[in-house]
Each structure stands twice: as structure tokens, then as C-alpha cells.
Symmetry: C2
Subunit: 315 residues, 2 copies
Amino acid sequence: MKIVALAGGVGGAKLAHGLAQILPPEDLTVIVNTGDDFEHLGLTICPDLDTVCYTLAGLANPETGWGRQNETWNVISNIERLGGPNWFRLGDQDLATHLERTRRLKEGKSLSQVTREFCEAWGIKQTVTPMSDSPVRTIVDTDEGELAFQEYFVHRHCEPRVKGFRFDGIEGAQPTVGADEALEAADAVVICPSNPWVSIDPILRVLALTPSPLPEGEGHKFDKPVVAVSPIIGGKTVKGPAAKMYAELGIEPSALAVAEHYRNLLTGFVLDSQDRQLSDKFKKGKILVTDTLMNSSADRARLAKDVLHFVGSLL
Amino acid sequence: MKIVALAGGVGGAKLAHGLAQILPPEDLTVIVNTGDDFEHLGLTICPDLDTVCYTLAGLANPETGWGRQNETWNVISNIERLGGPNWFRLGDQDLATHLERTRRLKEGKSLSQVTREFCEAWGIKQTVTPMSDSPVRTIVDTDEGELAFQEYFVHRHCEPRVKGFRFDGIEGAQPTVGADEALEAADAVVICPSNPWVSIDPILRVLALTPSPLPEGEGHKFDKPVVAVSPIIGGKTVKGPAAKMYAELGIEPSALAVAEHYRNLLTGFVLDSQDRQLSDKFKKGKILVTDTLMNSSADRARLAKDVLHFVGSLL
């Protein structure tokens, strides 16, 4: 069974790692959000792409779920001493990725090519591809005006109230060849438990799977099963601002709200055992209720197995 | 007594540090070669400027004389793992300097402004200025063709035979305001024991002190004492390729050759006790024979004291 997983950062990377433990490498392609990418200190930084790759390569910091394990901070602490910007914490090992990626991009390579080369160097056998080789930049509209995503997310700790989102450059952004081919060959699509607004929506838009939010009753009829795993458990997000975003946009944060978000695109939906009572409120598609928290590598594999079994039942 | 010191990397930085131990901070300006600067990994790297600043700030690696003390190499070893360029060994602390400098240059600041800011952050009270804010790039003409300086110096370990030098961008390069003002206010100029061909010549050219080599009998008549300290002792350079360059250019490497190199510019010349027998061969200017090897911080101060005493006798 060939699977395409759509992923943002930490939650997406964890399920991608679970799927990688179950599927043969050639049967898994992870298409990663690049809307969080930004330019900082002259470097092109791709947080979601790096989190997915570090996680699949076994290089990720097990405590944070992002960044590198056994990381050191000698560069940033010296930038700090010089009075330079220190709000985005760049570890030394992580910086090597950004420096070398930026160098290769400046040589004229595409982001997907550089990602392929890095995956090879890190021993990642699955296919990981950015959603697009053209820059897409998520802009968060807030009560303090528009903020570039990392400005909102890291620098301002998600404090400003969210009013909406736009994705600079998304109109012209084509999916990468790897994303297109994988989608064509896939038996099913798994939407990882990532932020629907800022991690998954940009991917769906680029892949032309659906504009979100869709007017009721509209939406691309994708001809393969699409299963989403809720990033919201008991009304809260495991990590990140998704629940806060729903609340600020006037929607009660819940797994139900996530399923509503994806509307007609979903064939199936996976929600946590804690939210079992919501399962009879779903009108469309099939439901899988299971433990979705991924605290360990074994949790990831178990959830991936459950999800794949569920997907299999929908084929 | 206000002193302007002209300096390249290690040898220049050591004497500058000696002078800094003797003179009040406001009486010392170090004008530093930028011909060795280059762009690498998208960063503007200024090796001589950094060596002078790290040395004055007490941050330099005492074993190498360049780079940072207690340095770590986590970025470069991860760039290496990705298959990126590793021939120029960038330490983690050192990288912070290049990243933050490049960021500020891109913001539109001049190299002299950034250097001033870094000196303040590092607690350097003397004035350190690049020779120019315009890029000058030393190109080494060799038996294998023209090589950018760091390509010759670091990547090729000075192996190709030298045929000559040129300094890209030097025609349009004006001295920095700080260099001009310091030269105007100075009582004397000290040429540090740096490489005459690639460290001092570019500075002299930018300051319009002399084109080198001068036709016999020509040269700018500078109206203040100029004293040079020989970087060649017993026919060998303490560090770097100066002696090798002299030999390849058909000139016997010696303190004598260094003095000849600077020709009419010199009022006085300092050579090492080992070369005492050469002292009666000097036709022009006064000679100071003293111990010029600077193995310790105390050596630097002692040589600086000797040089300043000598300079005082020439006023």
C-alpha cells in the first residue's frame, strides 16, 4: 500500500516516523509544508522539512521533537554577545543544515533536490519532498497587524490574536515533481496530526486538493481515500497553537472542528480515545477511535499501524 | 605618541597587541588588510580583521594565533556530513562573527561600522579599522594560473609557485574615514611583521603611501616616521608564506629583502637579533636590532616598547 503523508512539524514528523517503521521505504512519501520557511541571518530555514528529516533520520531532539539531539549553542550565544538577533534559537548542528542548504540553493539547485541530497546523506530511505520548490510564506493576520509566520510563532510566542491567514506566493507555487508523482501513485493520503490552518492548508492548496475553508458542499473530489488524524485531543493541541487559533477564529477547538475544517476531502477521520464521545457527531466518512498521543517511538508505530489498518478498510 | 599600525593576520595582530599593552587606547589605531577577505558559504569572512580583533580582545586561540580559544567545530563537521565544503575550517564561535557581520553588511552598514560595533561588544578600546569599506580581493598569480587568495593560502596550502599578485577592486578602494583620520593625527606609522606582498602592500596601496615595488628613487614622501618590523628572521618567516614567496619571485628571502621591498617609505627598520650581521647592509634609514619573536604576551609588550622607543628617537 503506497501512502502519501502530508506533514507539518513535530506532530506530522512523529506520525511520518511511525509510518516509516511500518511501511517499506519505497511505499512512503512525506510531502512537507514549506509555508513556515523563512530567511534569517541570510539563511533559508525550513523548520518543518528539517523536523521531518531529523525525526526520520533519528537525529531529532527527543525532548522537544524538533531540532537536533545533543545540540550545542555556541554560534547563537556568540551572535548574542555581538548584539545580534537571538529570538530564533539556532543550534550549531542545525545551522550546518541551513548554511549548506542556502549554499546549494544559491548554486541554483531546487529545494526538493537539496532535500533529496540531505536525505541521502542522513540515510533516510523514504521520500521526503517539500510541497513546492517555489517559496510560499505564511502570513498571520492578527489584532496587531500582519506578521510573518515565524515572527508570530517564535518571536511573539503566538501571543497576538489571530484573525486569518494568507500564503504569499501560493498562487504560482506548483507541487514538486516528487509530490505529484507520489500522489499519482498513492493508494491513500494520510493527513498527519499537524496544524490544519498553517501546516496542512498550504499543502492542500498547493496540491490543489481543496481550498480551505470550502463553501459547504464544494471541494475537490479526490479519487483516493484521505484520512486525517486529529491534532486536537480533548479540546487542546498536543503542541503548537492550533487550538488557540480555532478559539480566536470563533470556532470551538475540538477534533470535530478539525474534521469540519477538511470537509468533503476526508474519507476517514482518526480521533483520540479521549474524544470517543464525539464520534457519533461526525456526519461524513468513517471514524477510527484510538490512542493518538505519540510519546514514544513505539507509540508512533502503533498509531501508524492503526491508521494503515483503517486506511486499508477504506480502499 | 599617536601610532598607526598596519597589520595583516597573526604577526600583525601580535605586535598590535603589544602596542595595545603599552599605549593608551586612544593613541593606537590598527589599519587592517582586507585583501584576504572572501565570500564562503554565503558569508563575508575577514580573516585578518578577525585575527586582530580576537587577539586584542583576548579571545584568540593562543596556540594558532588565529581563530577563537576553546573553539568547537560542530557546524563544520555537520556541513561535512552533508558533503559540503570543509576546506576552510570555520569554528562555531568564529562563525557567529561571520554570520552577524554578513547580516549587518546586508542591512547596509559599512565594514568599518560593523567592525566598530564588534570591537565595542568585545571590549576593544583601541581603534581597529579595515583599510577600506570597498571589497579588495587579493589574487595570486601562480604556475597553475590565478587563484583567489584563500584558495591559494588555505585550500592549496600555498603549494602553487607564485608569479605575482594583483588586488581586485583596489583602484576604486578609498581608505576608511577612520584610517584617514588616524593617519592624519598619527605621530608615526608602524608596519607590523606581516607579509609584505599580500598583507601590507594592499594597505599601502589603498592609503596611497606607495605603490610597491617602486621604481628606484620614486615613492610617496610620507611626512612622518615609518618603521617596519621584519617578518623574516634568519631567512624564514615565523608564520605564513612570505619567505616562500620571495624565493619564488627570485629574491633571496631575508630581512634585507623586506626593507628593500618598502624602499623609500621607511624611516626605520627593526630586525631580529639573529640577523644582526645584516644591519650594516642597510643603506637607508635607521636600524633597530632586537628580539622580534613574540611567543608570549610579555614578548609582544617588550617588542612594542622597543619599537616605540625606536620610533620616539626618529621623531
